[in-house]
Amino acid sequence: MMKIEKVEELYDRLDYAIDSFTNESIGRSEFNKIIEELNKNEFGIKIDANLMPENRESFNETGLVSYPYDDESSYSY
């Protein structure tokens, strides 16, 4: 397998793990275990599981929607 294919495969597994955690199909400990496993890769790529935000609610976890808005309200009042 070529290097790029291995890197793509590593990315796929990381992407899937992030997606699973975001969709709440796996918990924090399982997520951390997957990352630990991924960190054994041959490229020396180190993934910091702590950079996975705890708050998984859509968009808010990306940290960008930070201006004042009411969490309970559908309206921007």
Partner: protein, 310 residues
Amino acid sequence: MLVVGSKALNYHFPDLKREVKDIDIIGTKDDIKYLINTLNPESIRDTENITTLFNIQNPNEFFNTRNVEILNADNSEALSEYIKLNDYKLENGVKYASPYILLSLKKSHIHFPIKFEKHIQDYNFLLNILKEDKLQRITKINFKETEKRVGELKTPSLKKSTMNFFGQSEGYVKYFYIHDDIHQVMSHYDRPIYEDMQVDSSSAWCEKDMWNKFSFEKKAKCVLEEAYVIALERKIIPMLNGCGELISSKKAFDWSIMRICTTLCSGWFRQFATDNYVEIVKYYNSDYVKKFLKSETDGLIKKQKHMNNI
């Protein structure tokens, strides 16, 4: 008193089966007083523009949710205009705002990234059925009122870590990529679509007349190219360089297209993206990050070193 939100949407379009978490009302101060007395909420949050009744103690056949939100028409020119239109369906003494009012309300809020995923689906649904916003004048007033209240979006501060997908980190040296190269790699055709909107390639200015000549598919792909580039530059590359939060490729894409529809872009480009969101995302290529990784390995994307001030 006018019923809006998901309760009104469900009334007009029952097949939609929209989940009604709370009931939204446009009302006057007198309506607010009446509803507080009638519904007897456990607690109330009262602001200049909205009154929220929490955990209502006297629910009935209509008010059957825990919470009720009343948008105060006395403090809003746009909301009082919606009431004055007398454009509603009356059933059992309840006035349900017309679909045109619902579309106008959605349109006036849609460029503010608040529960965007939920609102954009409703907005596209209503626009698809009604074809146009007949209440454009009120929509504009409501948009201005919202803008005045909400203010500007803040940008995030990036975090640090040791992760680096593109070779070992050299101290604090990180790699950054040439923007135009990323655009080229994310192109659907032989060059980025936005270039077909430029009279002068040395200027970032895009011509609306040239855009108007594009087919729907080309416009959709143009939005997608922007979305991939933004997702890569703002989310995926910082993550792969170890200085951004972990985020899936799909979430990064959803976030970037939300930003295109809200606060990152403006004018006709944003309007097209917003009006056709549901159709555009159907063209999503889930392998866009892998396409980037392969192009990076193949040397198709030039990178430059950048010294962080850490």
